[in-house]
């Protein structure tokens, strides 16, 4: 049993985050755009927070829609 709650997906820019948000909404996966946590990147933009339990389906959905990501991190 894992106690991880969220995964954070880093993307290149806000436009990518908004694209990811649309793709995930269409796939029925919930997400929230949040500021990039400082310990993950010094970027000032947004990233996509999803439920940890959803992370595999999230990655599949983003890959199918060809949304490039920079990385995924637990949070």
């Amino acid at each position: 049993m894992t106690n991880k709650q969220y995964a954070v997906i880093l993307v290149y820019s806000t436009s990518y985050a908004l694209r990811a948000e649309k793709v995930l909404a269409e796939a029925g996966l919930s997400c929230k755009l949040i500021p990039v946590p400082r310990h993950l990147s010094s970027d000032c933009g947004v990233c996509v927070r999803v439920k940890w339990a959803d992370s595999e389906s999230v990655l599949r959905a983003l890959e199918a829609a060809q949304v490039e990501i920079e990385g995924i991190h637990e949070m």
Binding site: Y12, S13, S15, L18, P35, D43
Partner: protein, 384 residues
């Protein structure tokens, strides 16, 4: 009051356009892509939705390759200055607006070779003449989709095939056609499409952009400016990915809110329906003007081969006087002169006097066309 200056900017705007802008100013307001709080994300979403709407209208596969800017002039400058290098050869037509011609003349001074393919006096371009102009160092064909002077449609899809065959990029200036004539960047073989928001996309001034196709090597593209993008902030170098590469500085999000509403209206009404309406208006106008003694109508005289922009002259009366009297005595607003397109006027034989131009739009009616034809008829009679 009859507004016949839609080729310069469309008016009135469709319901919902101004409201979308008011909503942005009053209820959203934040800077898109700069912060991550809820209003900033809402603002970013509005800009993204505008990207999607434009991509959908032109059948562009990737909304992130829609780059926004203040107008089509900047989009065309981005494509030309961003991709052409000294020693490259570019082919264009003699019907171009100065938004293509002037950047090309500036690039010519830097060592870019420019060939201007002559069009017919009606403004038509023979694709074979374009192919004959291809050289070993040709890299791009830059083409007006429709003349802003006489409305003549240029054979973009045919030239698109030529461009593919020779491995060239096709840049299309869709200022006069985006939203008023069907455009499919994939089917038409368009690699770079410059559009403006305030004409037949029925958005506000200060919006426009460039659709960048998959064949364009973005790594070779120089943006017109560098600056903050809200991304890669730890780097002092410009990000290399779209749209950030070409979108430095705070965008016109309030304008883009209006642009999205305008494009949604176009999509709802349907480009084909708008086109059918404008063909009907334009043919009635051409036929009406042709029936007046002393009036010369320019262009192909066939509405199916042009946009709803019609240029004409009255024998014995200067365009400027025609324009003034139409406005003062008949409440008809149009544009006279050279329309920022000296090359086009030389091609059709109206340089340097220019023409009187009626630019019809989706909101004009047959009654307005008939009233304008009657007004021109009275002026022509007086000029005799």
């Amino acid at each position: 009051m009859i507004y016949f200056d839609n080729a310069a900017t469309s008016w009135p705007k469709p319901p919902g356009m101004a409201e979308a802008m008011v909503h942005f100013v009053n209820d959203v307001g934040a800077n898109p892509g700069r912060s991550a709080h809820r209003l900033a994300v809402d603002s970013g979403r509005i800009v993204y939705n505008a990207r999607e709407a434009v991509a959908g209208l032109f059948n562009a596969p990737d909304p992130l390759r829609v780059v926004f800017g203040p107008n089509v002039t900047e989009a065309l400058n981005l494509a030309l200055h961003g991709l052409l290098r000294p020693g490259d050869h570019v082919i264009t037509s003699s019907m171009e607006h100065n938004s293509v011609m002037r950047p090309l003349r500036a690039l010519e001074r830097q060592g870019v070779e420019v060939t201007v393919v002559r069009c017919s006096p009606q403004g038509f371009l023979d694709p074979a003449d374009v192919e004959a102009a291809v050289r070993p160092n040709t890299v791009m064909i830059a083409l007006n989709h429709a003349s802003n002077v006489v409305g003549t449609l240029l054979p973009v899809a045919e030239v698109g095939h030529i461009a593919r065959r020779h491995g060239l990029l096709l840049l299309v200036d869709a200022a006069q056609t985006g939203g008023a004539y069907p455009i499919d960047v994939q089917a038409d073989g368009i690699d770079l499409l410059g559009f403006t928001g305030h004409k037949s996309l029925y958005g506000p001034m200060g919006t426009g952009g460039l659709v960048i196709g998959e064949r364009v090597d973005v790594a070779r593209m120089e943006p017109l400016k560098q600056g903050g993008t809200g991304s890669r902030s730890e780097h002092e170098e410009q990000p290399g990915f779209l749209p950030d590469l070409c979108e430095s500085g705070t965008p016109n999000a309030v304008g883009l809110a209006g642009l999205e509403a305008g494009v949604r209206w176009v999509l709802e009404r349907g480009v084909d329906a708008i086109r059918a309406h404008e063909v009907e208006l334009a043919q009635r106008l051409v036929d009406g003007l042709m029936g007046i003694s002393g009036v010369t109508v320019c262009g192909g005289l066939d509405a199916t081969r042009q946009t709803a922009t019609v240029s004409f002259n009255i024998t014995g009366m200067e365009p400027s006087e025609v324009g003034l009297r139409l406005d003062e005595e008949y409440g008809i607003m149009c544009r006279v002169g050279l329309h920022c397109a000296p090359a086009a006027h030389k091609t059709i034989g109206t340089f340097p006097v220019g023409t009187v131009r009626f630019g019809l739009g989706a909101f004009n009616t047959l009654e307005e066309v008939d009233a304008a034809v009657a007004a021109v008829g009275r002026l022509a009679q007086e000029a005799r």
